[in-house]
Symmetry: C2
Subunit: 333 residues, 2 copies
Amino acid sequence: MKKLINDPADVVVDALRGFEAAHSDRVRVDLDLKTIYRKDAPKKGKVALISGGGSGHEPMHGGFVGPGMLDAACCGEVFTSPVPDQMMAATTAVDGGAGVLHIVKNYTGDVMNFEMAAEMAEADSGIRVASIVTDDDVAVQDSLYTAGRRGVGVTVLLEKIAGAAAEEGRDLDAVLEVAKKVNGNGRSMGMALTSCTVPAAGEPTFELGEDEMEVGIGIHGEPGREKRPLASAREIAEQLLDPILKDHDFKGAPAIVMMNGMGGTPLLELYLMYGEVAKILEAQGVAIARNLVGNYITSLEMAGCSVTLLRADDELVSLWDAPVNTPGLRWGC
Amino acid sequence: MKKLINDPADVVVDALRGFEAAHSDRVRVDLDLKTIYRKDAPKKGKVALISGGGSGHEPMHGGFVGPGMLDAACCGEVFTSPVPDQMMAATTAVDGGAGVLHIVKNYTGDVMNFEMAAEMAEADSGIRVASIVTDDDVAVQDSLYTAGRRGVGVTVLLEKIAGAAAEEGRDLDAVLEVAKKVNGNGRSMGMALTSCTVPAAGEPTFELGEDEMEVGIGIHGEPGREKRPLASAREIAEQLLDPILKDHDFKGAPAIVMMNGMGGTPLLELYLMYGEVAKILEAQGVAIARNLVGNYITSLEMAGCSVTLLRADDELVSLWDAPVNTPGLRWGC
């Protein structure tokens, strides 16, 4: 295992210490609770947004804490859900009186633990909590860690767009409504060229031959649709977009497209893949209004990529364009 | 070789096509000349900045084209200098009457080709060209592709700071002076956990054992100081900072610090490394004023990192903070 770490048991807290040192202008970090807070939280009268999940997907979620996006992110161990105490403490800390939205990727542990935290926060402190569970991965119906579809790339877009809705003063019901619209109109599919190694495990999560790729991979290296022979970027773009375009209608509306790297993929290849994706979408009559190309929801050092499409409208594009000031996404500030 | 590409011979132009599709709001791309232009170039009366070099280091340089940074970036094949015709055409295209600064990393091919382009542009079009050659890598004096020190991470900081100086209307001499100040006060050192594979070669550039790392690596996988046993993040941070701090005095001034990933390193590890670097610098009495953590000057999918320190002052910090709107660095816009 070749990693820039100290003791594998301390990876998350060591990384959080570095994150705090780098971004103390915008965030504060509770190292005991492994939770990252927007520095000026709670914001009185603003709906607060919390997300969280296993570590190893950076910049998601901690990198999206800041004005225009999240108020807090709860970090679990690598690829392991945070515990309800974290989400409950964060919910209490960031509530500004307007309620809290939990943004949860559809993985069984995350869903269960966020639910418990929401119940505890409502019972103990009377805080109103709404939840959105993202489930945009068209690859598989059920999987190793999930009942139903997995929540992946759309989570990034949702945190941006719902964050903007909260920032402009919408109430909890309205922010939840926007979040549902994003999740309902977003679809993703990913693939891997290589596995990744969880520090505590010390061995690659799965095996792939020299001429193989895994299509439909989850963000923890859990199996996808199937192993297939390595293909060209053009063919891979087709294999990712086909199931997305069959699952939802993206024509006749502005699309927000994310070409996401899994952590170990050079930007050169992500741009190349984006070019292939843009070509296919143009031929299919899908108009790209906005795009992101880079590493946004990753799986440690896995090589590979995922595509997320969001069928947007003027409202969602306008919320997308609103100012955001986080370590991972920043514009207008 | 596992890569998201089509024909290895087309990697650069395919990636540029995707880059253009992603960022056509800010840049235009001449695919024949493999050159990326700021969309609104030439800017009348503004000193223009051009950089360039081999591809495979993204986001550098193309990702730094835009308001507040570069006016053009000339892209060579992977790890291969662009040719003089590219830099000459770019120089002519972006000159707004105030002259052009060439920002060149100290690699023999780059230096030679930029020099020829500068001479041609001056002789043919009477454009005034100044050049800054970066040479911040403390690892080795001469190397496989360089006489003198190699130009690495400081190039990113210099493009930002000199870009801001040009944007605020300074003349060519003044912009060159700022560039010299940055290069003279910047030092870098890098290391690799793994090699990378140039698409056209199809094989890893070098070999590293399972328990080895290469300290003092260049950005093309050219040898560094030595192969050493794999060490902890804490020890690696010391091994990178020691030669930097011995080479230049960073005390008593605000420092701008970049913790850069080589392309295949997860952000989790870069933050962890930044935490170690910040701890050492604090103990050494170096005050970090600004920082960057992420992939900025990469070597394809190489795993590893580099640290760049810039001894700054109020002027450089203020230019650093000025608005920038490029695909790779963006704030204040």
